[in-house]
Amino acid sequence: MTESTLADVAGRYLAALDQALAGLPGEVRTGILTGVREELEGLSAADAAVRIRDLGDPEFIAADARSDTPQSVSAAPTPAREARWYPVVAALLVMVGGIVLPVLGTVAGLVMVWFSTAWTRTEKWVATLIPVAVVVLLGATGVVVAVASTGQAGPAGDGPSPLIPGPVDVVTLGIVLLVVVQVGVGIWLLVRAAKRG
């Protein structure tokens, strides 16, 4: 029999727990998942298995959390009540919204993602910050390239070295990279939402 790693054991349990907690307010779900994740971090696979047994059945934990959630909060919009198309449209906008309507399309997608209950707060932050990080990285690269191009131009008016990409090349590459990243983030959001049904 193949031995399970901590990542396998913890991952399976957290996924089952995440699924069982669907329908609960985001902060309740995040609080429980974060707490359990922290409890399992750093344990051996065997210790994690014991701890998981002690933590209990995900369905039981979810039922307990539901019983502790005020009725008024339960009645608030929940993932169960969110229209099925909403997270799909949000993820698609994140994916290709920027192509249809540069910047605004992506921003609209991210706003929809933040209003959706299909994703945890952490997932929303990841989806929001990855493109920002890419843009910052591209900006930094653009500055470096611009400086390098200027430095390469000879006093006699020689053009920049053909070995160093020009600013236009960097912008084109950057846009392509950003599109690829956005498509990747969108697919990841779709997969995460689909796993929770």
Binding site: V28, I32, E38, E39, G42, R51, F60, I61, D68
Partner: protein
């Protein structure tokens, strides 16, 4: 059945369990599972499904704070501890709980005619 309904006990537990957490943290800082284990053993909560949202609430209310600490040869753990506001909240609860529980016990408890 003539016993008190389960709902009453549930409500009673819900009313005091946050203060029990504050009381446990007043003894010493504890990590999540330590709190869960103690509270579950004492039938104050059924599972961590109640505890972690409660800890999130207590943190957002500024009554507890957290810090990370390496435990012996074990993993880095997030420990919960009382803030000054948490200490004050617990002191206020103790001031009310003592007389309250004494009153209830004087009225309904310690009936020598039973048991």
């Amino acid at each position: 059945m003539t016993g008190v309904s389960t709902d009453v006990w549930t409500q009673l537990r819900k009313g005091v369990v946050e203060f029990c957490v504050l009381g446990l943290l007043a003894e010493r800082p504890r990590y999540g599972w330590e709190l869960a284990d103690t509270l579950i053993t004492n039938n104050l909560i059924a599972s961590i499904g109640t505890l972690y949202p409660m800890l999130t609430r207590l943190r957002s209310q500024g009554l507890v704070s957290t810090y990370n600490e390496v435990s012996g040869a074990g993993p880095v753990r997030k420990y919960y501890e009382l803030t000054p506001a948490g200490i004050a909240q617990l002191a206020s609860f103790r001031a009310h709980w003592g007389p309250f529980s004494s009153t209830v016990y004087r009225i309904v408890g310690g009936d020598e005619h039973h048991d």
